[in-house]
């Protein structure tokens, strides 16, 4: 079994209004050293299969569903888990 941790964020060329609002809020908290905020989505999937097959499958799942690649990018980490952790 593997656990895939998937991170989806806007492409750098897309202005993300929610991240801008968070940055404004941080400056109201007097955290003036926060230069940039990235806001996104986080998913965890548990899958069985060989590592190569699972990696390919998660990539397809991200591309086809979890991210809209017209405006978002994604990355993911795969970690092996035992049946107990699953």
């Amino acid at each position: 079994m593997f656990k895939a941790k998937v991170y989806v964020t806007y492409k750098p060329s897309v202005l993300d209004p929610k991240a801008e609002v968070i940055k404004t809020a941080l400056s109201r908290m007097d955290y003036h050293n926060v230069d940039d905020v990235l806001y996104g989505k986080y998913f965890e999937l548990k899958l069985s299969g060989t590592e190569a097959a699972v990696r390919k499958q998660v990539d397809t799942i991200c591309d086809q569903l979890l991210a809209n690649v017209n405006m978002e990018t994604y990355r993911f980490d795969l970690e092996p888990i035992t049946e107990d952790e699953a």
Partner: protein, 228 residues
């Protein structure tokens, strides 16, 4: 003209759209469900506004997997006319039937107000009853209507003249003020403003009626009714 409006779970502009097409513009218009797999008997298929599947994940992201969407892709590939309004526009971009994507409005507000559009193209199936440069007032009602396309896609759709409607005073941050855009072939249009909410004086305006009259003219299956 024989039209269909797809009702997804969570669609809420489907009956308004059917009313506008049938009772006001005077064409046949059926409500169909997301399970339908054959659209070959229609000239025009419309994807209405609303919150299909609760907008889970992203607006339109889940509706894309409905059985009717495979049929809709075949229908569009065969040259059938497809109109997506608001959530319908979001669904069509998610399904890859239109370029780009819709993201959160620039100011994060859900905006519900009449806006002014300028007609950029009056030679499409959806806009042949308008004039280039004509200004239309149509309502918008969306939180995620901020149209985005990457610079290459944007250059391509401008070069192909795919932009049909632009906001005169951009309410949501859409690139190039885009309010309505077609696919490269010109038989699929997506737009955030609601033409079906502007088809009777009682509703505050009739500027949306021309869109349905354009489709009737294009498909030549019914007499044009209603007055703008």
């Amino acid at each position: 003209m024989k039209a269909a409006v797809i009702s997804f779970p969570g669609s809420n502009c489907d009956l308004d759209l059917q009313w506008a097409v049938q009772q006001i513009a005077g064409a046949d218009c059926e409500l169909i469900k997301q399970e339908q797999t054959d659209l070959s008997s229609y000239d025009v298929v419309m994807v209405p506004g609303g919150f299909s599947y609760g907008d889970y994940l992203r607006s339109g992201a889940i509706a894309r997997f409905s059985p009717v969407m495979t049929a809709l892709k075949d229908f569009a590939d065969a040259g059938g006319y497809v109109l997506g309004i608001c959530n319908g526009f979001q669904i069509l971009t998610e399904a890859g039937l239109l370029p780009g994507a819709l993201q959160w409005n620039r100011d994060l507000n859900f905006i519900c107000e009449p806006v002014t559009l300028t007609v950029d193209r009056a030679d499409t199936a959806f806009s042949n009853q308008y004039r280039v440069g004509e200004q239309l007032t149509l309502p918008i009602a969306h939180g995620e209507g901020n149209y985005y396309a990457d610079p290459e896609t944007l250059a391509e759709l401008e070069a192909n003249d795919q932009v049909v409607f632009r906001y005169t005073d951009n309410p949501n941050g859409s690139v190039h003020d885009i309010a309505g855009v077609t696919n490269a072939a010109g038989n699929v249009l997506g737009m955030m403003p609601h033409p079906e909410r502007a088809v009777e004086a009682l509703l505050g305006g009739t500027d949306g009626l021309g869109l349905f009259q354009s489709l009737i003219q294009q498909t030549k299956g019914a007499d044009i009714r209603g007055t703008r």
